[in-house]
């Protein structure tokens, strides 16, 4: 076949296999032995009956997620509608909103840097909104469990001050705070093992090390925070060490991560069975509540369009992308 892609893709097969699959990181038994040095393998249970009732004990579960809905075209001609939602299992959701538009762009910086900076800014804003939503939800609902979408370290990096308050509050009120990570981009295992790390594991992502290793309904509980706390440059007094657990809550061989405060590993650790119970076996391995929150927080096209209509026609034209005028 004359198609270059065919050859290149075949080649890629081999490369990925030798790097990640086919026991490239050691066979399963060996990997499990090594990982036992990092944490503890747990068998998760689907809760039912009184045990299931006891988790929340009549209290509430809150899920927090954020969304960025954009209309417009190329940088800097766009408008972001940022929204964070704290959805309680019963009662009116907490919604926090903000708007972001990079006009006028940073002087001085070149186009690429400006774009990169702008992306940082909007991500920081969004993280801030999510933490604010969570803090408000605590005041409003006094929930038993707060489930954030994504790693907790993200809030620690992007919304440091507010996140510190959130952590103080959950510890004060005995609320389990967990971050659920669908796409693991962390290297927690590597830093936890540090000196004991086998050759070839260095710089490998957690998801590669754990790929197809955990059985369905199994978790790896790592009770030590990853090395590097407090993070360089951060105020050591306000450090919030975070532990990451991994669980396989669906038939899919990819694991998901569960972040919790190191100070709460007992409290939050007790919730893992519950989160497993709420995860559909055929799904992506995350609790269904986060799916619901994700669905609720996104703006529909109709809503986004309705908001866009609030701009004057001339102003709206500034943001119109040529893309939108394509025929196909």
């Amino acid at each position: 076949m004359a198609d270059e892609w065919v050859q290149q893709l075949e080649h890629l097969n081999g490369r990925v296999r030798t790097l990640l699959l086919d026991d490239a990181l050691g066979d399963k038994l060996h990997r499990r032995d090594t990982l036992r040095r990092a944490g503890e393998f747990l068998r998760l249970r689907r809760l039912a009956g009184p045990e299931l009732n006891a988790v929340l004990g009549g209290g509430l579960l809150v899920g927090v997620d954020g969304s960025i809905n954009t209309f417009g075209g190329q940088f800097p001609y766009y408008v972001d509608l940022l929204r964070a939602l704290a959805l309680p299992s019963s009662g009116e959701a907490v919604v926090v909103k903000a708007l972001h538009c990079p006009i006028p762009p940073d002087d001085g910086a070149d186009e690429d840097t400006a774009l990169r900076n702008d992306n940082e800014i909007r991500q920081n804003k969004l993280a801030e909104l999510e933490v604010q939503a969570a803090i408000t939800a605590i005041d409003k609902f006094r929930p038993k469990v707060i489930l954030m979408d994504g790693p907790l370290v993200r809030f620690d990096m992007r919304a440091k001050d507010s996140f510190f308050i959130l952590c103080q509050n959950v510890i004060r009120d005995g609320i389990a705070l967990l971050g659920c990570i669908e796409n693991i981009e962390s290297k927690v295992i590597g830093t936890v093992l540090s000196d004991e790390i086998p050759p070839g594991w260095r710089n490998r992502y957690d998801r590669d090390l754990l790929w197809d290793l955990l059985d369905y309904g199994e978790a790896l509980a790592i009770r030590r925070p990853a090395k590097g706390w407090p993070r360089p440059g951060a105020d050591p007094d306000r450090a919030v060490p975070i532990c990451t657990w991994f669980m396989r809550a669906s038939l899919d061989p990819t694991v998901v991560g569960l972040d919790m405060l190191a100070a709460q590993t007992d409290l939050a650790g007790r919730c893992v069975d519950y989160l497993f119970t709420l995860s559909p076996p055929d799904g992506r391995g995350i609790p269904i509540w986060l799916d619901l929150v994700d669905r609720e927080v996104r703006l529909t096209d109709v809503e986004l369009d309705a908001y866009a209509q609030l701009l004057d026609p001339q102003v709206r034209r500034v943001f119109r992308s040529k893309r939108d005028a394509r025929f196909f």
């Binding site: 689907r46 809760l47 039912a48 299931l52 009732n53 988790v55 929340l56 509430l60 579960l61 299992s89 019963s90 519950y274 119970t277 709420l278 995860s279 559909p280 076996p281 055929d282 799904g283 269904i288 509540w289 799916d291 619901l292 669905r295």
Partner: protein, 618 residues
């Protein structure tokens, strides 16, 4: 509730998150500019965006939702969205505005569309579907008018009663009742008849199934529900026993028709009847004339004349000869085969008892405002129907015509003719004895006050001219595609309604009536009477066998007691004793009977070396 999506002047989509819509429910679209148009739900759907059907994404199993509900009291069904396709009862000028609020109507807003007539003067046939929301706002006289039978349970009226005012038939005459077996059609017909009796409307019922009597009380009928003593309001007659044809009143044409009904007659036979039948002929005079003619034709003209003049014959024999000659002269050129054909057909009708009585009892019943049920096998009923319906209709017509001409004529009341299996009486494409008179009433009856209620499970086989005249059609479950096609053609049922026809519950029907101007879905009410054939024939078999066994045991028991025990060799003695008591059995038959008693646990059997031994069980 609000209007969403693409709308037009006739149909809109309505969504609601609070409660699912129900098919046939009425809704008001709150648009003052269009003066609040009303619509009926014709299709319903419900949707939950979290329970989407997506094979690629996988499905969240019920156990997860249950866990969420149990632990956090979160009910996913609060995301249910209910969608209804609503058809407006009347077209509006411009498409309905999307976003318009929609609400349930109050009774006053739709009452006029649903209730036409007062319950005391109307037939109360059932309850209109999905009108339970309207019931609280109904005026008191519409409450508690009907009960429903659902899944074997008697239920109170839970909606607006469906009233049919028979007076509306003057403008929109005749009713058709269509539906397959088990559809509730027979019950529907029964309810129609009960209501006709309630209103004391003179009615003639042709009942080929011997089931339309009204003395039995249905199982589980609540006390007080049967508020009329139907025994006084109907009379059942069997053709050939209580009622028959008065031969002297037959016209030649009627006679031909009767003979034809007995078995198809040829043109030659028709000519023969025309030549031989005389006004005021009695059965005896006509049949003896036929017999004489047959004998004469067999003897030949010469033979007859010879007999007439035979000096050696007795006077009466000569008289016979004279008669034969006279008859031969009257019936010149009629072949023997035709006369023999008439003779045979006439004999068949006579043997069936058709000529032994007349229809006086039926006339009396109708004059008394009663329901006259005429029962008989279908061929006979067909013959009789042509005569009786024709006769009654003529009396009514004569009375009305005389009235128009300002002359006096004996009074005969307006009446309704009802028949089940109507396609047998008025079939499409071929002739049947009663067809022409039914057709005549279908086309002209209303001006004389004669109306039809025709029930059939095969509307496709019913004469089209007649079907077209049925201004009200009550359609029950129908499965056959050709019948559904006919119903679609002959009614204003919509596509959606026609699609639902094969799946209607027993007792649910669509009433498509010119009186209402559209189709009304009705659950027919519980009947206050029941068919006499409610016993299952297979239960009957079992009961029969049991009672036979009991009777036999009563006879054989004392004998067994006397014998102590009976072995195979003694069975013959037992048959003898039984014969003395007037019961004769062969040894084998006796053995069978005893085995049945062993099975029933009344007699004990022991077997030793292949020999059996019976004795009474102690």
């Amino acid at each position: 509730m609000q209007v969403v999506g693409l709308t037009n002047e006739q149909e809109v989509l309505v969504i609601d998150s609070a409660r699912p819509f129900r098919i046939n429910e009425y809704l008001v679209i709150d648009d003052p500019a269009l003066s609040h148009p009303k619509g009926e739900v014709v299709e319903t759907q419900s949707f939950n965006r979290f329970l989407d059907f997506n094979l690629e994404k996988g499905i969240v199993g019920p156990e997860v939702w249950r866990a969420l509900q149990q632990s956090a009291d979160y009910d996913i069904s609060k995301h249910d969205v209910h969608v209804a396709k609503v058809r407006l009862l009347e077209r509006v000028q411009v498409p309905i505005k999307p976003g318009t609020t929609v609400r349930l109507p109050a009774f006053e807003e739709v009452g006029g569309l649903l209730v036409k007539g007062s319950p005391d003067k109307s037939m109360i046939l059932g309850v209109i579907h999905a009108t339970d929301n309207l019931a609280p706002g109904m005026p008191p006289h519409l409450h508690n008018r009907a009960r429903l039978l659902e899944d074997g349970q008697v239920r109170d009226q839970n909606g607006v009663p469906f009233l049919f005012d028979p007076r509306a038939m003057q403008q929109y005459p005749h009713i058709g009742i269509f539906g397959g077996s088990g559809s509730g059609k027979s019950f529907g017909l029964r309810v129609f008849l009960e209501e006709l009796m309630k209103l004391r409307i003179p009615t003639l019922v042709l009942d080929p199934h011997f089931e339309l009597t009204f003395s039995e009380i249905p199982q589980g009928c609540p006390t007080g529900y049967r508020d009329i003593n139907f025994d006084e309001r109907y009379k059942a007659f069997q053709v050939g026993q209580e009622v028959g044809v008065n031969f002297a009143h037959l016209t030649t044409r009627d006679l031909c028709r009767l003979l034809d009904a007995s078995s198809t007659i040829s043109e030659g036979m028709t000519n023969a009847v025309e030549a031989l039948h005389k006004a005021n002929d009695s059965y005896v005079s006509f049949s003896s004339r036929i017999d004489t003619l047959v004998a004469a034709l067999e003897a030949g003209e010469k033979g007859a004349q010879g007999r007439m003049r035979d000096p050696g014959a007795s006077g009466s024999e000569r008289e016979v000869g004279t008669d034969q000659v006279r008859v031969l002269n009257e019936a010149k050129g009629i072949p023997l085969s035709s006369v023999k054909g008439i003779q045979w057909r006439l004999g068949r009708l006579f043997r069936a008892g058709l000529f032994t009585n007349d229809i006086k009892p039926i006339e009396t019943a109708l004059r008394n405002g009663q329901l006259a049920v005429v029962q008989g096998p279908i061929w006979m009923l067909n013959v009789f129907a042509s005569y009786v319906v024709g006769t009654l209709y003529r009396q009514r017509r004569d009375y009305k015509d005389a009235q128009f001409r300002r002359e006096t004529a004996p009074y005969f009341p307006p009446f309704v003719v009802v028949t089940d299996e109507a396609h047998n009486f008025a079939p499409k494409a071929f002739d049947a004895p009663a067809k022409s008179i039914i057709k005549e009433i279908a086309q002209e009856g209303r001006k004389y006050g004669a109306f039809l209620i025709l029930a059939t499970q095969r509307p496709t086989l019913l004469d089209e001219t007649i079907t077209a005249q049925l201004n009200t059609k009550c359609v029950f479950r129908t499965v056959r595609a050709s019948d559904i096609a006919t119903i679609k053609e002959e009614t204003d049922l919509t596509q959606e309604e026609a699609r639902r026809l094969p799946f209607l519950r027993s007792g649910d029907s669509f009433v498509s009536s010119a009186i209402f101007g559209r189709t009304v879905p009705v659950r027919i009410r519980m009947a206050k009477t029941s068919s006499p054939h409610t016993e299952n024939p297979f239960d009957e078999l079992g009961q029969q066998a049991e009672s036979e066994a009991d009777q036999f045991f009563e006879v054989v028991g004392p004998l067994l007691a006397k014998y102590g025990r009976v072995n195979d060799a003694q069975l013959i003695d037992l048959t003898r004793d039984l014969a003395k008591a007037g019961h004769s059995f062969t040894v084998d038959a006796l053995r069978n009977r005893l085995e049945a008693l062993v099975e029933a646990g009344l007699v004990e059997k022991q077997t030793f070396l292949g020999m059996s031994d019976y004795r009474l069980k102690t």
